[in-house]
Homo-oligomer: 341 residues x 2
Amino acid sequence: MPRTKGTVSIRDVAAAAGVSVATVSRVLSAASADVPVRKETRDKVERAIEELGYRPNDLARALLQHRTAAIGLVVPDISNPYYPPLVRGVEDAASSRGYRIVLCNTDRDPAKISGYLDTLIKTRVDGIVVAGGGWADVPDRTAVLGNYRTGLVAVGRHVTAHPSVRIDNVAASREAAGHLIGLGHRRIAFLGGPASSTTVQDRAQGYRDALKVAGLAESGAVVRYGDFTEESGYAATREILDVSPPPTALLCANDRIALGAYAAAADAGRRVPVDVSIVGFDDTPIARYVRPTLTTVSIPTYEMGGAAVRMLLAQLGGNTASEIETMPTRLVVRDSAAPPA
Amino acid sequence: MPRTKGTVSIRDVAAAAGVSVATVSRVLSAASADVPVRKETRDKVERAIEELGYRPNDLARALLQHRTAAIGLVVPDISNPYYPPLVRGVEDAASSRGYRIVLCNTDRDPAKISGYLDTLIKTRVDGIVVAGGGWADVPDRTAVLGNYRTGLVAVGRHVTAHPSVRIDNVAASREAAGHLIGLGHRRIAFLGGPASSTTVQDRAQGYRDALKVAGLAESGAVVRYGDFTEESGYAATREILDVSPPPTALLCANDRIALGAYAAAADAGRRVPVDVSIVGFDDTPIARYVRPTLTTVSIPTYEMGGAAVRMLLAQLGGNTASEIETMPTRLVVRDSAAPPA
DNA sequence: TTGTAGGCGTTATCAG
DNA sequence: CTGATAACGCCTACAA
């Protein structure tokens, strides 16, 4: 019965119900707005919709309304355990407001970032949430974004002209290092991720600040860079435990690195926290399940995702308040850090 | 200069370049197909595109071509470490073929599944990849999918009329249990996830098969259900280690449960694998980094994602071959399982 | 090689 | 309360 090649449209419904397409459109929008439509007519139409299994074409609607109800979500790599909660935060906040999300994994590759950005603009997403780095080498598409009224909010990044939700990495790291110092540690190493990451830079900074305050600046500062993986933490730890005297504590830029450090310590015959204390960052789910349980800095990733969506929607609504939102972190003290032997 | 309210369209480009919209359209599609266009004209147009920051509207294009280049990806929960590699597999395969993905987290909630399904149809995604369960209680939308030529392939599910990519959970579990039996274990417990999950049912089945083959069926079968979390594994293990005699080995339905079991064993003063052997499922990244390293069944999740996309695209192309693709699993023997003391 | 015009599936405006 | 009809931004014959 549907006339267009295999896909049922509003015209088929209109024909089946014996009304005009305009009327069908009305009963469709009657749900939200209050357009007047006779009950009898509505029933006819709804029956037709049901029988034909009709689903309105949101593309056509979007074309007309200049609004797709889609949000682009750009992350470095969903396989990094840091991101799933953020993604959930974004998705839950988005879907509860009628938006869907299109996910883009960039691997921090400027070419991929660039490509995804173009795709998102071409599909006319209403806005974009970007997390993580790799943007330094991406040609600035801001003007184009503006051309198409695409909103953008960054999460966890520092260098951007757009609104952003972030945490105070310097302060968080200072607190974590301070905790170790308070425990009596004097030789503390910092195991970072990529040196190019502003997050890593900030955490290294907080670490140095804490050492300086404690008067340990030169004697005890040891900073290693690598990436955000277990391997990286493992390798760095194996090396670092070999120097003499070895550090008595390790401040890791994330939990994955800390996990690698656990493994390296075990393989080197050192016990945590007796021989070496370890502190992480992120409070990933495993932190509670490794033994000893991991002392780490908790970051409200899920909430940050939600906040990003709220800011984005505000931005789309023309509301330009709260350009930067800083969310609180918290040092979760567990069993992996103790006074040095 | 753009005339339409704030967003630059093909007409603006045409005007700026002093040509017709058709010509602009041609230089746009000239990239892929080979439409004839004079170099001089092309340059003019491309200059205009550049200057105006023009990005073609894929909505309009999709409307015309009945093809959105979008794939819906439905998973229970991206925060479950099992899914990120699958999602990456899908995204990488999709994006390399010019498709983008819209991500849907269902929490196995029939209402959410249903809602997302409608959204995906309304936005006219070309196809849908569904992973994980919760579909038993969802009213069948298959007819509607057909109305809109939406492809669908399931990954890791058994009850479905659609093509699917899966693994042989029964055989994999049989092998894992067999490994434990071969080590000399006689009292082996199975720690499952949700009893309603076909995956869990199959793994329990494989476990029972192995026991039976070894003549242990009645004496040694202990099956616990719960969910796929560390908590669940922790709780089950604490209980199970209290019975006397306790099992000497634990076969866990996934690595998260196994991780919970590690923690419970430690808290109960039992050593792995001396006092209790543990085997997991999934070969999550942490498996290599816990100590002792975790013996577990490796599942090619990333590849399964890629396979799903290939099958989906074949389906869209009218190719209906390979209705079911079964991918190989592999028991990765590490240090968490050893002969009983 | 380039321009004109019709239509993709909706919604919105205006008459009736 | 309902029905024509003109957009939305683009592609694709068909003409020129």
